[in-house]
């Protein structure tokens, strides 16, 4: 019997408490480093960063968009589980929700550090400009975070000790009962905030690198962002699940569940990357020339912003994982599945990088200069902070909450 075993889910084995605490301590060190950097930014201001008037978006804004895309597994898995009624996914939905919760809470924290006057953050809600993509992001992001809390709370209430409290038990039970409604609301909100994040650079008609035509008020990137989050978010959920399995040295989810999610993800990714290719082609040969630019100009200044980024995003981290995931044989082979989910997760991050940070780099006025930016240590630490926080929350949740319903069956305790 371990010190805290009364808190573990029924019928599962966990590492010893001292071992767990060593892990927590290591992660805490990184966390404290990140918190220190964040506090510096809050108290001393954004002069702690290497941003400037040309390059006004920081590394952490990329991280913000990337984690929101990667956290897209929560809304899309929820959508498939509760609305499309893919029942098998109930065995992975808890983890998708937890990962989503981590990603979205991190995103909120990052936004809180990123703004110059954090105490005025509420202006975005109170004095909302409904024409701004950022307003849409803020509203839908915050509302969806509430939905994620609602989805995560029942999981917390399922802790063996908390569940003994009748009110908590009933509350968790009732929340499960109407989870489909919350999931539907979450899917609705997610479509809009993922999309409006795509719209953030898509509407910038003064910045031809990011600007996209579109339909009605939405640029094409609006739809592409939602699509790519739905495609790559579940890949990240699978990736973190497999990492957790590798670290805990036990199988937590049955292969058929992973296979189903990977297959859907694969087809989403395959269709997305075709649409992305068409979008890129249209941008390069229609949109940009109409503004007086040659598309190659945007990749011409330095190796860092070279055309390799297009190849990496669309071919290596787009078509390759898509094909690996839609092909039954490679999807069901462990090594190729690993490659596919890693590439897909990298791909969506590269896409967010290109469409948010790279937009800042090329000059628009013909006599202007390129802008390059190397983040300061404060920015790096603040960007790593959510990773440490995420690892810690996963460690605690995995230890004390029944996240994987199939764990007991797959790992019977024999003593």
């Amino acid at each position: 019997m371990d010190l805290d075993s009364a808190l573990w889910p029924k019928g599962v084995q966990r590492c010893t408490f001292p071992k767990f605490m060593i892990g927590i301590t290591v992660v805490s060190v990184v966390l404290v480093w990140g918190v220190y950097a964040a506090l510096l930014c809050w108290f001393k201001g954004l002069n702690q960063t290497n941003m400037n008037d040309y390059y006004g978006f920081a590394l952490w804004i990329w991280a913000d968009l990337a984690v929101i895309a990667l956290g897209g597994g929560a809304f899309f898995t929820g959508f498939l589980r509760y609305l499309v009624k893919k029942d098998e996914l109930k065995h992975i939905i808890n983890y998708a929700v937890l990962i989503g919760f981590i990603c979205y809470s991190s995103a909120q924290l990052i936004l809180g550090i990123d703004v110059g006057q954090p105490l005025r953050g509420w202006f975005i809600f109170w004095h909302a400009n409904v024409h701004s993509m950022l307003t849409e992001v803020a509203f839908c992001l915050s509302c969806y975070f509430v939905v994620l809390c609602i989805e995560y709370i029942p999981l917390i209430l399922e802790n063996r000790q908390l569940d003994k409290v009748p009110f908590f038990h009933h509350l968790g039970h009732n929340m499960h009962g109407i989870m489909a409604i919350f999931a539907a609301t979450g899917a609705f909100l997610s479509c809009f905030h993922q999309g409006s994040l795509g719209g953030v650079s898509g509407v910038l008609f003064g910045r031809p690198f990011g600007f996209r035509e579109g339909v009605f008020i939405w640029p094409w990137t609006f739809f592409l962002f939602t699509w790519s989050a739905a495609a790559c978010g579940p890949c990240f959920t699978i990736l973190v699940t497999k990492l957790t399995e590798a670290i805990s040295k036990k199988q937590l989810v049955k292969p058929n569940v992973v296979d189903l999610l990977a297959k859907i993800s694969g087809w989403m990714l395959f269709t997305y990357i075709i649409a992305k290719t068409v979008d890129t082609w249209y941008w390069a040969f229609v949109t940009v020339p109409s503004k007086g630019f040659n598309w190659a100009f945007f990749y011409s200044n330095n190796d860092f912003y070279g055309t390799w980024i297009l190849w990496l995003e669309i071919v290596i981290c787009g078509y390759i994982p898509a094909l690996l995931l839609i092909t039954k044989k490679t999807r069901q082979t462990n090594s190729t599945l690993w490659i596919a989910i890693i590439l897909a997760s990298i791909g969506v991050c590269v896409n967010r990088w290109a469409l948010v940070l790279q937009v800042m780099a090329p000059p628009v006025m013909p006599f202007d200069t390129w802008a390059l930016y190397i983040p300061s240590w404060q920015e790096v630490a603040t960007t790593i902070l959510p990773v440490a926080y995420g690892v810690m929350l996963i460690m605690i949740s995995f230890r004390y909450l029944p996240i994987f319903p199939q764990e007991r069956e797959l790992n019977p305790i024999t003593n």
Partner: protein, 54 residues
């Protein structure tokens, strides 16, 4: 966000945007209220408070 803030205008963009927002918030709020009230009622009824959620 509210009709009494001076930026507010009764135009289509505000109606669609804020309509969607308040609709979503109402569903979340109503759902949560229902869960809490029902949990309180169930608890007062004296259900055992055990068993699986799924």
């Amino acid at each position: 966000m509210f009709p009494f803030s001076f930026e507010w205008a009764w135009d289509m963009s505000h109606i669609v945007f804020m309509g969607g927002l308040w609709y979503a918030l109402s569903i979340i709020g109503a759902g949560l209220t229902y869960c809490i009230i029902k949990a309180a009622v169930d608890t007062l009824k004296g259900d055992a408070g055990t068993g699986d959620h799924h």
